[in-house]
Amino acid sequence: MHIDTTSVQGIGERTSHSISTSARRKRTRAIFAAAALALAMAGASTAFARGGEKGEGDQPYPPATPKAVVEVTGRIFPAVVRLDVAQEVYADGKRTVRRGIGSGVIIDDDGRVLTNYHVAGRAREIFITLYNKERVHAKLIGDDHWTDLAIVQMDMDEIKQKKAEFKHADLGDSKTLITGQDVMAVGTPFGLARTMTLGVVSNNERTFYPEQMHIDEYETGSFSNWIQMDTPINPGNSGGPLVDLNGKVVGINTRGGGQNLNFAIPIDTAKEVIAKIESSAKEGKKGKVDRSDLGIDLKPLQDLETFYSIDINRGVLINSVDHNSPAEKAGVKSQDILLDVNGVPVNVRFPEEIAAARKMIADLPIGTDATLNIKRGKENVTLTAKTEKLQGAAGEEREFKVWGLSVRELTRTYANEAQLDDTQGVIVTTESPGYAAAKAELAPGDVIRAVNRKPVTDMDEFAKLYDASVEKKDKVVVLDVQRGRGRRTAVLKVSYDE
């Protein structure tokens, strides 16, 4: 199945921007629809009454009676907001912004809002419009592209000053969701605030394995399955809540496939991410979710059990081992069957079970030894791999204005994907037309290995060499550049006449 990825940025201008599926990694490209971001805004008329824990009166899967639908709509609207976001992006060698609109749901009385990473991640400027149409400033507390989630803090002083009102929504459980259950999506599709749509859960463990999803250059969707529902959602709904008929949030509407195939992030996944972002966020420092990585690609064992002579529902196939990864260093090989990690069984027979297995590895403590019990041919081997902090392929990006380019940190994941021998250097991403980098015919993807013959170990070193060169007002800068398998010398002729 192929689903289009469309995320609408800048609803006002009606531009559409597709969530990149630069599937350099492994697989045929998945094309997915990111349920677009629209403005959901919550208004508050009805009282919003329930507490955080499961109410006594909650039914397991309450039906969408006309009464229930109207009541729940009234309760959830004051907790749903529209976000107008300027996201940080790099283009033409410069840091700039891309404006977009999305939905969000207020999750506590302190004014925290849960939304999608593709709505508010990397946000430089956020405005939130409440249900009562008041507009307030907000700032990004933390984000996590792997789960496509972000948390935003509304400016509470401004809210008090404007006497704006809001309610928070209660978070429910997504693990108890069952297929066929009635649900509602709330948000701001195409900028149409306070829109409620109704539908059912079409599937509660949707996976798109083996497709790999991306938001721009950032990997996403690896660590949990999706809730699939037929509630209509459209660009602008992104980040808005999917609620059950008890009025509890069970998912975050994220991707739309058109034709009534829409997808939400389970709220159980979101709850964990919220806790991690909130506990790691400090004044002046974005909250984040750190995960472990071993550098292995897992594959379901369905139909391969006989070949590998293993019991049904036992183990998972190690499909590929990343270059320079902890697993490679530990001696893990493709076609090993991973049975247990630290004594805990990992069993993946079906694609639906992959996300949980990946998450189990991601949840290992970073920088600790993991004992891998492996079946290799007829033998059983035990290997020890030291977990590394998970990094995406897209490292930190920075602009270097005088030279007219932006570059990215070279992560191990990127080096593996681009088949580079090591992580020395920085990657050229964009260039300013007419400036030195563009004139020197640098190309996106080029790896800058040395500046004036001094090796570039990482981004900080590159920044130091740049600063020193600009300080001296070097007119000529000699770069050692790797392109493909070849090396070449490039010369920047820098001008300082501004």
Binding site: Q335, G377, Q419, R485
Partner: protein
């Protein structure tokens, strides 16, 4: 206003056309009459594991029974033994053309030409190419052949030399009406054959393609290659026993230094080429050439200039190809700034085997054709030259192999529990499995880009 402007523009063009140097109608007709008998078509049947296709391209008689065609007609990517039933089609003024059985003589990649010889002796009229230079402003004629759908009729085009460009291969640009189809001879006002029309990507190379029969007239080529570039092929054409063996030094990713780089390295005004990658154990590596070296001289002389720096590697490569395996060439390179040049003598070796001559094996039940791994495969995949395995060359549409997710260009390294060392080993393993278990699923370990994948193929039961 706009309307009148539209009519005004062509009027100006017509006036300019009238002012050009032209060839008298009688002289032009004479050239046409003399060249026409030397224009033939070459036909062969491309037969791979599951398809068969007849291809027809333009050819020029260059010997009594020898025909030259553009290399594109017999694309070097097609394995030699998949090209069968060669024929030379000789059009007649009236009636069906003659079809003469022919033998493929081989390709010459130094000049981008290929040759066919009639099986039985013929007395065709050859065109004699000469190294005569047409200057800017000189009129040139070209005589081409229309497609099969237009009965291979020959046609005349006239134009004027507009510029001489360097390019990787020298090219002459014409203005005016343009040139006849790719591969047609180009002649000067005296009727001397001085070049061949370059490949023009907006036009097919094949005379039996089902496109517009007059496409070559409506979208004309405007470049030709002067005869000086390909005369050596005609003087010593390849034969099945003596194919053209291409030399190599094992240096890839060459880049021409642009003006800024040259200046920064103190090489102002000197054409220079930087060595991007040196293949281990290849001739250049053995001779001591290193990544980053900047080549300033070839056999003691400064490098030939190009119209732009990016053409320098192509020009050098083109030049190098004209040496023979076993010969020694000398590069003078700059390794450290302000140090004297190092002279490095490289003895040329034969180019590594390529995909078109790689051995193949067809696993019919899977619809899978695999071929021998060659140097280019390991290089493109950034794998060590010692890498073992076989490459997926082709898959039959809707085959078991295709539906299992195997893709063209995948590198297969394991078959069931055995390492696939080479094509012979793959064939042996496959046949052994099939002998015992004719319908069992196979499990392959493949490498695609940066990752491996285990793929199970269930053959049709």
């Amino acid at each position: 206003m706009m309307r009148s402007m539209r009519w005004f523009v062509p009027a100006v063009l017509l006036a300019a056309g009238a002012a050009r140097a032209t060839i008298a109608p009688d002289a032009a007709r004479k050239v046409y009459d003399e060249v026409t008998p030397s224009l033939v078509a070459v036909q062969y049947s491309w037969q791979n594991e599951f398809n068969k296709q007849d291809l027809i391209g333009a050819g020029i008689v260059v010997g009594e029974d020898l025909v030259m065609t553009s290399i594109g007609v017999v694309n070097p990517q097609i394995p030699d033994d998949q090209m069968k039933d060669f024929k030379i089609i000789v059009p007649k003024e009236e009636g069906e053309p003659d079809e003469v059985e022919a033998v493929f003589q081989g390709r010459d990649e130094r000049t981008n030409m290929a040759f066919l010889k009639a099986k039985k002796p013929q007395h065709w009229k050859p065109i004699k190419f000469e190294d005569a230079v047409a200057k800017v402003g000189d009129p040139v004629l070209s005589v081409g052949m229309l497609p099969q759908a237009a009965a291979y009729k020959s046609y005349l085009m006239e134009s004027t030399v507009a510029a001489r460009l360097r390019g990787d291969v020298p090219q002459v640009l014409v203005q005016g009406n343009g040139l006849a189809a790719s591969g047609s001879p180009v002649l000067n006002a005296d009727g001397k054959a001085i070049g061949i029309v370059s490949f023009w990507s907006r036009q097919g190379l094949f005379l039996n393609a089902s496109t517009d029969a007059l496409a070559s007239i409506s979208n004309v080529p405007r470049f030709y290659v002067p005869a000086s570039d390909f005369l050596l092929s005609i003087q010593e054409p390849p034969t099945p026993d003596k194919p053209v063996v291409l030399p190599w030094i094992g240096v890839l990713e060459l880049s021409g230094l642009n003006k800024d780089v040259a200046e920064a390295l103190g090489l102002k005004g000197q054409p220079a080429v930087q060595v991007g990658d040196v293949i281990p154990n290849a001739p250049a590596a053995k001779a001591g050439l290193k990544q980053g070296d900047i080549i300033l001289k070839f056999n003691g002389k400064p490098l030939e200039r190009g119209d732009e720096a990016s053409e320098l590697p192509g020009i050098l490569h083109h030049r190098l190809l004209r040496y023979k395996v076993g010969e020694t060439v000398e590069f003078s390179v700059l390794r450290e700034q302000d140090q004297p040049l190092k002279d490095i003598k490289v003895t040329l070796e034969e180019q590594p085997k390529r995909a078109n001559t790689a051995k193949r094996f067809y696993a019919e039940d899977l619809g899978l054709v695999v071929r021998e791994l060659v140097f280019q495969d390991t290089y493109a995949r950034k794998l060590p030259p010692t890498q073992k395995g076989v490459i997926v060359a082709m898959e039959r549409p809707q085959s078991a192999s295709q539906s299992a997710g195997l893709q063209r260009e995948d590198l297969i390294t394991r078959l069931n529990n055995d390492t696939v060392t080479d094509i012979a080993e793959f064939e042996k393993l496959y046949k052994a499995i099939r002998k015992e278990k004719p319908h069992e699923a196979l499990v392959l370990l493949v490498r695609r880009n940066n990752a491996e994948d285990t793929i199970r193929i269930e053959p049709p039961q």
